[in-house]
């Protein structure tokens, strides 16, 4: 895959793809944008598959070009997940809707205890969307898939009239196989469990906000978008059944995730605000915009609920991994104040952190 398009993702996503191999009519090369025909399942649609999706995603199942992909899966329980991605802007520091679409679904499978294997990718494109941007997105997806060790094996493209979409929406579904002997779930947190987070919180949401609000930084905030399956596999290797629950805190941030688990498990959660890892720039940007980092989205972080005796081991594994260098223990599961998330502030006072009200930061992923 050519790296030239991805390199310019945030700088010049409009760099033109190489049309020399396209057999499409001349007008398309002259006006390289999506037209209604691209979604029609005819010649134009096939052009996209042959010249854009296939070369990028390159795998046998996809190349069969059937209506569905026929796959071989290892033995075990099947895990299926899907997500839609409507982020605005499409390109931001640290990534694009492409990486989000792949990593988001990979991570949902991984935090369920599954090894992600195959993804589908459906695109809804707006008439007039620049082909160069689509090519950059697709290339980003291909790279993300390769990094995560998954294949994109089937997909679909539809086009809507100008003004009826926001450039590009992507839906991915992913399938994986549950690791033997692993049972994790939001309802399995137990009093006494240690709560760990794999790194700094709020990076993705503030990276998006910084573009939207036109904030300038000394050191720009980059989205933390990343595939976590490798790191999670190592954690499960080391701690196995001592891992009770895992989640990736995306929309609604850490606070929403912790509240969900508190509700599902019927336990209380006590965290220490001073222990939450937050980058200085993220803290400053939150200060300026009146936001709380605990509510800001993450796309490359995981929260772990582990039996107390496994805490040290899991922290060591996380910190040894490139994506978990700043992992920290942030709190404990308690039998007190069930279903409630309580934080100890720097003052030593306790404050309840409720689930986020409404959509503080819309279109964040």
């Amino acid at each position: 895959m050519g790296g030239n398009l991805k390199a310019g993702l945030t700088d010049s996503p409009n760099a033109a793809p190489d049309f020399s191999n396209w057999s499409c009519p001349l007008p398309l090369a002259d006006y390289p944008t999506i037209v209604m025909g691209h979604g029609g399942g005819g010649k134009l649609g096939n052009e996209l598959v042959e010249h854009l999706f296939l070369p990028a995603f390159r795998n046998a199942a996809l190349e069969n070009l059937g209506d569905a992909a026929v796959l071989n899966l290892p033995a075990g329980r099947l895990v299926l997940s899907t997500d839609s991605f409507v982020v605005q802007p499409l390109f931001f520091p640290g990534g694009s809707i492409g990486e989000l679409a792949v990593n988001g679904t990979v991570n949902d499978l991984a935090v369920s205890g599954a090894e992600p294997k195959f993804l589908s990718a459906s695109f809804i494109l707006e008439e007039g969307f620049p082909l160069a941007q689509l090519a950059a997105i697709v290339e980003a997806m291909a790279e993300a898939a390769a990094t995560a060790g998954v294949q994109i094996v089937t997909g679909d493209t539809k086009v809507v009239e100008r003004g009826h979409g926001d450039g590009c929406y992507i839906t991915t579904a992913g399938v994986g196989v549950l690791r033997a002997g692993i049972e994790v779930g939001p309802q399995r947190a137990r009093a006494g469990d240690a709560i760990l987070v794999s790194g700094t919180i709020g990076d993705h949401g503030m990276a998006i906000m910084s573009v939207r609000e036109g904030l300038e930084f000394e050191s720009p905030i980059r989205s933390d978008c990343a595939a976590l399956n490798g790191m999670i596999a190592k954690v499960l290797d080391a701690a196995g059944a001592a891992v009770h629950a895992m989640r990736d805190p995306t929309r609604g941030g850490l606070a929403s995730t912790l509240n969900e688990i508190a509700q599902a498990s019927g336990v209380g959660i006590a965290i220490d605000e001073a222990r939450l890892p937050v980058r200085a720039e993220v803290q400053s940007a939150c200060e300026l915009l009146g936001l709380d980092p605990v509510y800001v989205a993450n796309e490359g972080k995981a929260v772990f609920f582990v039996a107390a005796e496994a805490e040290e081991k899991v922290l060591a594994v996380l910190r040894a991994h490139p994506l978990g260098r700043e992992a920290a223990r942030i709190g404990t599961v308690t039998a007190q104040h069930p279903r409630m998330l309580v934080a100890r502030t720097a003052m030593g006072a306790n404050r309840v952190i409720p689930t986020q009200i409404g959509e503080q930061l819309p279109r964040i992923c």
């Binding site: 904030l215 930084f217 001073a274 890892p277 200085a280 300026l288 920290a328 720097a346």
Partner: protein, 115 residues
């Protein structure tokens, strides 16, 4: 809205007849109108509300205020009974700031420093 944040002035220009500046808020840089603070120069700290600087921060006063705050209650602790003081000191984390002013620096700040 009384939300005002302190920032350091990094650059001053004139735009559309207004005195404008680039102000750095802990790493975030924003354009701010400095028309109300003609005494503020590059390198000064100022308090900013909805894009307008309202007052220069008197750094000497700020430092003195902090010093006064650090003094508060310290005398009480020094006068505590011997055993109690020993017990308290035994559990206090070792710190580079004996006066306690940086004792509760959050993990977050430590993370950001090493980042």
């Amino acid at each position: 809205m009384c939300l005002a944040i302190p920032g350091r002035v990094e650059e001053i220009t004139t735009e559309g007849g207004l005195r404008m500046g680039r102000v750095n808020f802990g790493g975030v840089v924003k354009r701010v109108c400095l028309d109300y603070v003609p005494e503020v120069e590059v390198g000064d700290y100022t308090i900013v509300h909805v894009g307008f600087a309202l007052s220069k921060i008197d750094e000497e006063t700020a430092e003195k205020t902090l010093a006064d705050f650090r003094e508060m209650g310290v005398l009480e602790e020094e006068l505590a009974e011997g055993d109690e003081a020993f017990a308290r000191a035994a559990v206090k984390p070792q710190s580079a700031c004996p006066d306690g002013s940086c004792e509760s620096e959050s993990a977050s700040q430590q993370v950001s420093k090493s980042a």
